[in-house]
């Protein structure tokens, strides 16, 4: 049984107890524990159920590669699923729950799947559920959805905050083990700016433990003292930044790297953000990310108690926790002997070291024999005994097919199938790998690095990540990597390193070598996704020869651990099944992030009220205080209507619509785009931008214009005012302000760069208020300061002046068909003018109105709206706007496109008014049906609704739409089916419903 040892533990402080809750049980750990070490200290080895067969699973690893011990962590706004117990640091009142079981961890109904595993092989779902087709959608898929998945989805809004941090460095070193420390030091000594990241809470990696057990030294001292000295030296350098709990998550083009820093995961009550995403631009990147131990594939290798050999000694040395009392070590390389030494040193039993190599190990093996540990060479585990925990192993010959020679009782199996360099970060941006036959692993190919913009490699690798195994090699490699990125200077320091020589590894992909199906179908490759040796072999047999296909078919390596333990073993089995060497099979693609990072970290500050910028006009606060029902328009918020107490939104709209026609309406039109276009060529330029002639406009006058893309389609409209000979002010739609300004600049900068025209977007400089209705002139006259009479300020004219003591520009323009002025004042004066208008307007029945009233008033007049009547496929001719298309001009943007045969085709749908026979309001976007079906068997269509409203002025529904031959079919009745099956009979009418002669606006 696992337990806390009486002494030891580099990372823990036994004097500080930490309470935590595991599956509703109150347990105790100590400061420095991870959830995994604390659970082991409490004798809890069962930590989860597997994904597919719901098999009982214990912790396998001690770090980021852990596939099994995934837990639901936290509560409510701090709930997060799939948190690795091995990397979750313990804190007071931490709460974790195991996942993927029902009703309980100890008794799980889903475990029946393991009895059915013969019937659930690779590709089972694909084969089983493809027929009959409809059953997938309605029966299989909902059931599988319910049973699939690991943790629970969070239901509450995240309580924490997150942030980004942009930083720039000459050298980024990822990994704070001895190679990373040496690389950072060597690089920093040359004066380079160095950023060093380590994903765990401790510097030094695993060398301090392993070399302590092996008796390795650096310059005569312990590795730990070397690490301490390096950390102290680096910390004292101004050009070095060091971050713990900061994982290099991904490497991208142009030296861009993401670092994932976990600030308060270990101390959740502290102030500040929970995670910080480092967005680094590095001149050179050195990945010193170490290596991950591989499991061995023997039957029952997933039973709780079977662990990586390195993890077993990590728990003993780092946390003072023994995973069990009797540990059998099984290995194909020398490193696992260290685990036997650690167990012995802790006073625990090691019944046997099973070394699959016929010739056994090197110096460490000799030492083990000297210590009196039983070492069996050329042997293997036939199968592991036990169901919920290991009770023993069956010993057999590695060369055979699994005949059990002897059963060895034990409660821990420490396995080592060799080491795989962590090449993920090297690979993210295109670094290639090479197969190292002698070490039996893929390592980075230094001749094929990820290339930067200059065609040179910008990532190098140091230490075990580079395949430089062993203390001396790793340190030298770290120094070399550091020296390679030095700004200038000397070679790296040579250190006097002593560490035992390792005997060569012997690749073991299946244990025993001739394991029959029965054993292979219990030998796990991917613990998290429940993929076994037999599954990969089946995939190969069924023709999935590409590693990428076999991966997807079996789901090998597709779980949240992305196959950190399983990839190499899986592709070795695949290679064997295909009868080809491993390098020919190759690896699957490594993609960022290295381990999952929080969505919060990716979002950064863009959370809650900071999610998106909301643009506010100068009168925003007034609208908010006066019942505005907000509508998003681009990034602006505009009042849809001003709702009074007791009113519905629709009632408010009806009131505003009637009041504006009868009395006086006030509209905040500040969001409309305003672009100044100035220069000797300004008129010529606007003649190109607009379909109509702008160069002939006289100063003091306004003209409505249409803008098209070079493909002829309408993109914007608005009123242009000529300010003086050289200067125009172009109004755009709200959404078009920025894009039309960019559109103008693009043409000026790329095509007509020699034209003398400057533009500037002055949208934000002005507040603009539309004063609309029969009493508009009266209220302005009451404010006083300028002559707004018909004679002084005619329709489609503008004048500068003052109103209520505020400098302004008054435009006599109308988008409603009413007597209407738009008053522009500097933005800081907008509220003052609005207040003055509201007060002075009281006696004239002034009411503010929102965007819906704006829409209804313009629709009553048959005025088009960009985005309603247009959708990117509509040309002005479709909307009957021929009058606004100059025939005198040689050219304008869109002119040639509008002459294409498709654009002049008579069968293009054209704008008409639509009036339902029963007075009801047509649904937005409804289609009018025609007789017969098209080639696809769909009903033919002859038109669609583009705008539809209830008009309180006309007391009926009004609409506009595009209809086949519409203008020639006035009075004809067409049908608009609704979604409920009924149809609305609708008459084609003139689009101008109200005051066709424009008498109201010309007063």
């Amino acid at each position: 049984m696992s337990a806390r040892l009486p002494k030891g533990g580099r990372f823990i402080d036994r004097s500080k107890q930490v309470k935590f809750i595991f599956n509703s049980r109150a347990l105790k750990g100590v400061e420095g524990d991870t959830v995994a070490s604390a659970l082991l200290a409490n004798g809890q080895t069962l930590m989860g159920r597997s994904f597919k067969y719901h098999r009982p699973r214990g912790v396998v690893a001690s770090g980021a590669e852990e596939p099994n011990a995934l837990m639901n962590h936290g509560l409510d706004g701090r709930f997060e699923p799939n948190q690795r117990a091995t990397t979750t640091e313990l804190y007071d009142n931490l709460r974790v729950e195991t996942q993927n079981h029902w009703p309980s961890l100890n008794f799980d109904i889903g475990a029946l799947n393991t009895k059915l595993s013969r019937f659930l092989p690779a590709g089972f779902y694909y084969k089983m559920f493809i027929h009959p087709r409809p059953l997938w959608k309605h029966v299989y898929e909902p059931i599988i959805r319910h049973s699939a998945g690991l943790g629970a989805a969070p239901k509450d809004r995240d309580d924490d905050s997150y942030e980004h941090f942009y930083t720039f460095t000459d050298v980024l070193v990822i990994g704070g083990g001895i190679a990373g420390l040496q690389a950072a030091k060597t690089a920093a000594d040359s004066g380079a700016k160095v950023l060093l990241m380590e994903q765990t809470a401790h510097w030094g990696g695993r060398a301090p433990i392993d070399e302590d057990l092996a008796g390795g030294t650096i310059d005569g001292g312990s590795v730990q003292s070397f690490v301490d000295q390096m950390v102290a030296d680096l910390a004292a350098m101004d050009n070095v930044t060091m971050r713990l709990r900061c994982m290099g998550a991904g490497i991208y083009d142009h030296g861009y790297v993401l670092g994932y820093e976990r600030l308060t995961d270990h101390a959740p009550k502290t102030d500040g953000p929970r995670h910080r995403l480092w967005r680094v631009r590095a001149g050179q990147v050195i990945t010193a990310t170490g290596a991950i131990e591989r499991p061995l594939s023997f039957a029952g290798n997933d039973i709780p108690g079977v662990m990586l050999a390195s993890a077993v000694r990590d728990y003993v040395e780092n946390y003072g926790v023994s995973p069990g009392d009797r540990t059998v070590v099984v290995t194909n390389n020398d490193s696992a002997y260290l685990t036997a030494f650690a167990m012995k040193r802790a006073g625990l039993d090691v019944p046997c070291i099973i070394d699959a190599r016929a010739d056994g190990g090197g110096a460490l093996a000799v030492q083990a024999c000297d210590m009196g540990i039983r070492v069996e060479r050329g042997k293997a585990i036939a199968s592991v005994k036990g169901t919920r925990h290991v009770t023993g192993v069956g010993l057999c010959a590695q060369a055979g097919s699994g005949a059990v020679l002897e059963e060895i009782p034990c409660d821990v199996v420490a396995m080592s199938g060799g080491w795989s360099p962590v090449v993920h970060l090297w690979s993210h941006c295109g670094g290639k790998l090479t197969w190292d036959d002698s070490e039996a692993f893929f390592r980075p190919d230094p001749n094929r690095p990820p290339l930067g913009a200059d065609g040179q490699g910008f990532v190098s690798v140091a230490g075990a990540a580079n395949g430089a195994m062993g203390l001396g090699a790793a340190l030298e490699d770290g120094g070399n990597a550091g020296a390679s990125v030095r700004k200038a200077g000397t070679t790296s320091v040579t250190r006097n390193v002593s560490s035992p020589e390792y005997a060569p590894i012997e690749p073991v992909w299946m244990m025993p070598h001739g394991a029959p199906y029965k054993l292979r179908s219990k030998a796990w490759l991917d613990f998290q996704n429940d993929v076994k040796v037999s599954d990969v072999q089946l995939a190969a047999q069924e023709g999935f020869e590409s590693v990428e296909h076999a991966k997807r078919y079996t789901t090998l390596g597709m779980a949240t651990d992305q196959g950190k333990l399983s990839n190499i073993n899986g592709l070795a089995i695949l290679s064997d099944a295909l009868g080809q060497p491993i390098p020919q099979t190759g690896t699957t693609t490594f993609r960022p992030p290295y381990t999952p990072i929080s969505l919060g970290a990716i979002a950064g500050e863009a959370h809650r009220e900071r999610f998106q910028p909301l643009r506010q006009t100068p009168m925003h606060a007034w609208h908010d205080a006066n019942g505005a029902d907000w509508e998003p328009v681009g990034q602006w918020r505009r009042p849809y209507a001003y709702v009074r107490p007791g009113e519905t939104v629709q009632q408010a709209v009806n009131r505003e619509v009637v009041n504006t026609r009868d009395n006086l309406g006030l509209l905040d039109a500040s969001t409309l785009g305003k672009i100044i276009v100035k220069g000797p060529d300004a008129g010529r330029f606007l003649d190109m931008m607009y379909t109509n002639m702008m160069s002939t406009l006289k100063p003091g006058k306004c003209r409505y214009g249409l803008m098209c893309s070079e493909n002829g389609f309408l993109i914007d409209d608005g009123v242009v005012a000529r300010i003086d000979d050289d200067t125009f002010l172009c109004h755009t739609t709200t959404g078009g302000a920025d894009s039309i300004h960019a559109h103008m600049e693009e043409w000026l900068q790329t095509e007509w760069w020699d034209w003398k025209v400057y533009t500037t977007n002055v949208t934000e400089q002005f507040a603009q208020i539309a004063v609309v209705g029969p009493n508009a002139r009266k209220v302005l006259e009451k404010l006083g300061g300028m002559d707004v009479s018909k004679e002084a300020l005619g329709f489609m004219e503008w004048r500068d002046g003052t109103l209520a003591g505020i400098d302004c520009r008054a435009y006599r323009i109308s988008f409603s068909g009413e007597l209407s002025y738009e008053i522009a004042v500097p933005a800081n004066q907008g509220q003052a003018l609005w207040d003055a208008l509201v007060t002075a307007g009281e006696e004239f029945g002034a009411m503010p109105y929102g965007t819906e009233t704006l829409h209804i008033l313009r629709a009553e007049k048959g005025f088009i709206m960009i985005g309603d009547e247009t959708d990117g496929t509509v040309i002005p001719q479709d909307l009957g706007l021929h009058w606004a298309i100059s025939k005198k001009k040689d050219d304008f943007l869109g002119k040639r496109a509008q002459e294409r045969n498709y654009m002049v085709d008579d069968s293009r749908w054209k704008l008409v008014g639509l009036e339902t026979l029963d007075g009801s309001t047509l649904p937005d976007g409804a289609y009018a049906v025609a007789e017969g079906d098209n080639a696809n068997g769909q009903r033919n269509m002859q038109g669609r609704v583009t705008s539809t409203y209830y008009s309180a002025n006309l007391k009926k529904g009004i609409a506009m739409g595009l209809v086949l031959n519409g203008p020639d079919r006035m009075g004809e009745v067409i049908d608009f089916p609704k979604t409920d099956g009924a149809s609305i009979a609708t008459r084609i009418v003139d689009p101008v419903f109200f005051d066709k002669d424009g008498e109201k606006q010309n007063v």
Binding site: S161, E163, H164, F165, Y166, T167, F168, T241, T270, D271, G272, P273, R276, R279, R281, G604, E605, A606, E609, R610, Q612, P613, L614, R615, Q616, T617, P618, A621, Q635, W636, I676, K678, G679, P680, K756, Y758, T759, T760, V762, T763, E764, Q765, F766, A804, G805, I806, P826, A827, N828, Q829, G830, Q831, A832
Partner: protein, 189 residues
């Protein structure tokens, strides 16, 4: 007639690791002209008393400062009550040249983030190298502040001025305060 100020003008927030201050109105004038032409440069300098800034720089004079916005655009900063007069002076000085001068004093808002951690705070929102070796007083950057356009310069070693559009000033204010929230120091001080 009293002048309507924006709601947060002048507000100083000091609850975090750097102070965030929303300035009261400045005079801000956009000038578009060919900044490589000697007579144009001379005209602008005569109207403002400030030399034309080099690329990516800000030139500060006694009564005004000139921000380099692009090869053919400057932003003139001056006292709010001088904005009208300076606009007129610039228009007159540039009358014989192809140029556009517009008083944009109300279009933008300036914040300053100050304190020893000002650079770190702004670095949370801005993809610019703000390390002391790279970004110094006298320099200017046009970039983005999280999701909105912004300009940056440093009036002194511990202060970063952030310029953004008026309509997003509440957003900018909120994210600057968030970036400076208590407990969010990037480096131990």
């Amino acid at each position: 007639m009293s002048k309507a100020l924006r709601p947060s003008d002048g507000a100083v927030w000091t609850d975090g690791i750097a102070a965030v201050h929303q300035h009261v109105a400045h005079g801000m004038i956009t000038v578009r002209a060919d900044l490589n032409t000697a007579p144009i440069k001379a005209a602008i300098t005569s109207a403002t008393g400030v030399a034309i800034p080099a690329k990516l720089s800000i030139e500060t004079g006694a009564d005004a400062a000139l921000c380099w916005m692009s090869p053919d655009e400057l932003l003139v900063l001056c006292d709010a009550d001088q904005a009208g007069a300076v606009t007129k002076q610039l228009q007159e000085a540039l009358a014989q040249h192809h140029a556009l001068v517009a008083n944009m004093s109300d279009a933008r808002v300036i914040f300053s983030v100050s304190g020893a951690q000002a650079r770190d705070v702004v670095s949370k929102l801005v993809p610019v190298d703000l390390s002391p070796d790279t970004f110094k007083p006298g320099m200017l950057r046009r970039t983005r502040l999280a999701q909105v356009a912004a300009g940056l310069w440093m009036p002194d070693d511990d202060t970063i001025c952030v310029l953004c559009f008026r309509s997003v000033s509440e957003y900018a204010h909120t994210i600057l305060k968030q970036a400076a929230q208590a407990g969010s120091s990037v480096f131990r001080r």
